[in-house]
Symmetry: none
Subunit: 220 residues, 4 copies
């Protein structure tokens, strides 16, 4: 703040200084990036450490194993997202049309277009290799997500805006378009070959509009 302070001293300290509070975060960030980019197996702990600017040994100072590092990454990237969303839904007072569109767009902003989506893709690949993490992810992310969609649809039925639905399968009317977009990131060239003519926002709006046509109470 003071322009007279020799800021270099502060920066010099960072190389081998007391950084204990910030280290885990830096390591988690580096790990998130690499895991998302290269997958679990191809991400070497040494690379994570290097990207965080520390040595391999330092990483193990904060995370006892590669798997625990991975779990911590999953935890930090998704912790407590749903509490907030649930509250938003609770207080929402618009029509189901508006709500569904809001869900689609908000998902894209907060998940689909962020690194969190990368984690979802990772889980898809690694669930079989790490049953414990998969179970954790199911409990902390998948179940709450499904529950949220369920409540949106139930609310619409209760308000007479949506037709009677078999919720067990109907959740996927909403989820499938979102999940497909997320998974696409694993191989964009394969899933969305004409990337240059593709706009996620247009996709989101089109899907929301279309699914709503099917969900609304039908005249006949």
């Amino acid at each position: 703040m003071s322009s007279a302070l020799p800021s270099t001293t502060v920066h010099d300290a960072s190389r081998r200084g007391r950084r204990k509070e910030s280290r885990p975060g830096e390591l988690l960030d580096a790990a998130l990036d690499l895991f998302v980019e290269k997958g679990y197996a191809a991400t070497h702990v040494e690379d994570v450490a290097a990207r965080a600017g520390v040595s391999k040994g330092t990483l193990f100072l904060y995370f006892p194993s590669k798997q625990e590092l991975f779990q911590a990454v999953v935890r930090q990237a998704i912790a407590g997202r749903f509490a907030e969303w649930d509250l938003e839904l609770e207080g929402y007072d618009g029509t189901s049309d508006e709500l569904v569109l809001y869900c689609f767009e908000t998902w894209w902003e907060r998940i689909g277009s962020t690194k969190a989506a990368g984690l979802g893709r990772l889980m898809l690949s690694e669930a079989n290799n790490f049953p414990e993490i998969a179970e954790f992810y199911r409990r902390e992310v998948v179940e709450p997500g499904h529950g949220l969609i369920r409540r949106v649809l139930q609310r619409g039925m209760d308000r007479g805006e949506l037709r009677p639905l078999d919720l067990e399968h109907a959740v996927y009317l909403v989820l499938a378009p979102l999940m497909f977009l997320m998974f696409s990131g694993s191989a964009p060239t394969l899933c969305i070959p004409n990337a240059e003519r593709f706009s996620p926002q247009t996709y989101i709006r089109l899907q929301a509009d279309n699914v709503l046509q099917g969900l609304r109470v039908r005249s006949s």
Copy 2:
């Protein structure tokens, strides 16, 4: 032992050489199964060889590396399937409603519920590691598939059954539900947590019905 004895040669040949031409095929089949079941990294060449009933060394006699084996697997598994489908579409004379439902259900029968789906999942995971084979898959599978959906939708618009559509994004109205179901196989427990109450056929019909509601020409 003696090089002059022709009979032994014959016998040896009949035992060893009987399947000589089919060796690569057996290896590819075994590899396809294992790659699809366990993923690329978790599939060990030794297991592939064992499943094909040959030794590890023999595998390398036919495929110079694990990567080449993988590429060969993908190549053989996607021999031009689309020619046939294109013909079916050409001759189809029902309504768009019928055609779309037919597409959904046929996809499930011929792709979604078969090993081909496993291959799609595999490509999703490994596309980054195998750019060449991804490009091949895109050309041979993705593009034809997109084209086919495009023609279905265009046909509907031409016949006045479907509303005007931005095809670039509308293809995903059909593809997203199918692709999500396919990708789900990578981690069923994460994608479809309530597996016991879930029926793919019900899912397929519900999605087809719902998407059609949105695709039809709209009164207002």
Copy 3:
């Protein structure tokens, strides 16, 4: 068999040839030597492999882990020794004086002066780190050994040659001198500082003679 066979071919084969039958034995020999010489921790699998003239990978081809290698070493070095000894004892028909001396001297010849003693020393050091192996060793080596001494003493009492003994403690009258000599090998310089004036055979005879003086029935 035929004297015309070019024997060199056979020998040349040894470097990378089919040696599967002899490999485990060679590895076990090398491992025994190194374990005994350097202890468990200081013995690196790579060194064992090198001494056996193979690569690290080859060792793991035959033994799935360092610990299993160790167990195999223990097994081979002591397997079935006691069956033979028990038979000898059963058929022995000399006096207890002769029998005890025979035990002392035979132990020295077959155990004390051989690599088996090195294994005993190793177990002393590593028992705490490998409870399973220790249990195995107790069952297969220690218990039979104690039982054998017990029977020798009981036989002496039954024949009226030895005084009544509390076997639970008396076994150590025989065992202590032998075990001390064995353990000495871990640090000869500490246990037997005047090595140049020390003769194991003299030690063995002196100890046997002396312990017998105490074991015999006493006049008073």
Copy 4:
């Protein structure tokens, strides 16, 4: 904060510096306990520091390496104990029978049943890795011990109570039972499998009695 405040300095000093001189001693005590309990390799410097209530860095302030710490532990633990014993022997005026029994029992009380025995076990294991300290131990502990036993036996011969003995080997008539009991502690389960029916005191008395039978002048 202000460098002019002397009171804080005083306080800091009293809290931090109070035990400054005793630090090395506390570390040595902690190290002795752990080395004896877990062996050299399994004792981590961090645990030693923790047990002494200081940080890892502080340990290295007093001992430049783990090896030096070990050597210091051994050195302090064997401060000239034998001077005292030698005097006792010099002034002893009982029979050899009494003296030998006294030696056995006193050894158990002062060595065998104390931490000193743990040190002996440690030396047995680590003598090869620490030649210098082994030499020190030999000079300070082993030689005096052997000398003491030698003088006891010589005294008995001089007094006509013990038969003529080859001292070079006869010392082990006394030492072997004691050393075996000491070494047993490294792997009690292997050396004394029926621990619940075993009493060290009974062992000590039985061994002393038995060895004396052999040592006494013989009638024939």
